[in-house]
Symmetry: C3
Subunit: 251 residues, 3 copies
């Protein structure tokens, strides 16, 4: 078993040509040469694994660094996202979406970090989503079920929260057209796992899979986030994801 | 139902005259016009809702941005708090209180952010709480009950924590006179919800209501925090708040 | 009882000679004189308590400020750690370790903060751990048990996470020689408590105690972290620590 491990590590730690990390920090070798080695080895290799596209990995990572409020990580990750096929309008919508799912201040810090990146790439307002865009059609039946559940559970505690969850989130934000529902779900699930918020994972992981996220992709979201949100958050997501997967495949 | 929603959104999203947000970020329109629209619509409207005064909303928001360690949000929220009737001495005590309930570093970052605001407003030391102020009277019976519970649950694990919880928190910090016990509770509950720390919500929400926070106010604290601490933290607070509300009204 | 408390407070709040905090912030007296008094009283006293050495308290505090991503706390705490006997190579390994247990961005921010401290102290690369150091021997039996458990619980959800947990963490990171397994465990447990991640505390607290952390030290880790990670995180750690302690002493 030891030789397999050695082999796997050798492969994992070899510098991945053409995939030089955009996170490399000049200070790293002066403080933690081992961390730099992991970065050029396992972390670079992570982005090339099957199961989740590089574009989706960027969506997940961007959601993680915004949710965890890490402005120093944002410039490199925002550039990487734009280089990997995340459109400027999508990045803009991810930031807007996370104002509600990670907190207002998180989105404000992300907008501050994104502004110079958008400027350096000449991204103008006409490439951004309209403030008031025509909304995607609402699945009324699904929304009625969701609203009934929230009314029953949240209504007796916070009528204001019930109202905003309907009017601001599910009848507005989620229907904005510049981020596909599947990607909006991917952002939401990534935010929940990154914040250690497992309680809402069942609802949103089911919704993500209803919106087209595959089980293989969801699996890789968790192992990708182990690196960007820490192992404990990834491990905490496992039992709830497992329950979702099992219920969806139960006969 | 659709027309009601449209109406509600139109109202919600109309710029609220005289309530222009102090959070407006110059970069926002260049990155996320939709987020700017939400900020000028739903977020500004939030602050004018019944159920919780603007002053209390500031206490809650200040607690959220300190607990979530968001220095970039602090200057605008500290100014807003002072403008909404939070006294300098109260803001000072909120920061001191959160050293214990959010963590020492959070309070240090808040003090750094508050110093220039206090300077720009000419707030001098004589407007601040004394370092060693005469304490409010202790409710000995209540404190004996609290101490007994903590001794029983925490004592076998961490005698040091038992001692500090009594001597530093409940027999000192909580009795400092420049922040009313009801407001101290409001800060504590807001911090717990903002950090996703639901385990201590039952004790502190009960204490808050014993100290005068109404159920309607507690309800609005949760829906207000949905914006500043993210929807997941608000939703996680709901079932524990519900249990507290129900036990308090049980015959 | 009141006189005991008064006495305890008097002792606790007296400036501890020769232990002037390196955290003192020039702004503090202009914002929160009470907080400054607590800092010079209870916080300085905390570092001198029996049960946990000053060096270990530094390991715990450094883990807390990295996990909680508080760069403004890092310079003083990194200097204090080096002054208290944490070797530069150990600090370097703590940062590397937390890339995995707190998140990549946390370690990057810590490396940024450590670089000028290492420079000011003339710490050169030859004092740092090698990027690829010869590993400590693996306890194969223990590792086989761990791997089997993870395979069973995580395998059906995320095979990638299973693989990395084995190859990158337990067969590589944990075996790096420049941080003793007991200290690596101390860092991990401190990170879990600081992040409110109680789910993984049982595994890692047991491992820490297997690696030599005493029950008295674990107790003091919790009461120390009450200050640096906030009371709620310390209280949330208590019931899981209690269960670990009780199971280990059960006949």
């Amino acid at each position: 078993m030891k030789s397999i491990t050695a082999l796997a590590l050798a492969m994992a730690l070899a510098p991945a040509a053409g995939n030089a990390s955009s996170d490399v920090d000049g200070d790293l070798s002066a403080v933690a040469p081992a961390l730099q080695r992991y970065e050029r080895g396992v972390l670079d290799e992570l982005w090339t694994r099957p199961g989740l596209s590089a574009r989706d990995r960027s969506v997940v990572t961007v959601a993680a660094v915004i949710t965890r409020n890490q402005p120093s990580m944002m410039p490199a990750q925002f550039r990487r996202a734009l280089d990997s096929g995340v459109k400027p309008a999508e990045l803009s919508e991810i930031i807007t979406h996370l104002a509600f799912y990670a907190g207002w201040g998180n989105a404000m810090a992300a907008a501050d970090a994104a502004a110079p990146i958008f400027a350096e790439r000449g991204i103008e307002t006409d490439q951004l989503p309209a403030a008031a865009a025509p909304l995607l059609p609402l699945d009324e039946a699904q929304e009625v079920r969701r609203a009934a559940t929230v009314e029953q559970t949240v209504g007796p505690v916070s009528p204001g929260l019930v109202r905003d969850t309907g009017h601001v989130l599910f009848r507005d934000l989620w229907l904005r057209p510049d981020l596909a529902p599947r990607d909006r779900s991917l952002v939401t699930v990534s935010a929940l796992i990154s914040a250690g918020q497992v309680a809402q994972v069942p609802f949103h992981l089911n919704r993500a899979m209803d919106n087209g996220l595959t089980r293989e992709e969801a699996s890789e979201v968790i192992s990708h986030l182990a690196y960007y949100a820490g192992w404990p958050n990834a491990f905490s997501a496992v039992p709830v994801a497992r329950e979702v997967f099992e219920k969806r495949t139960a006969p």
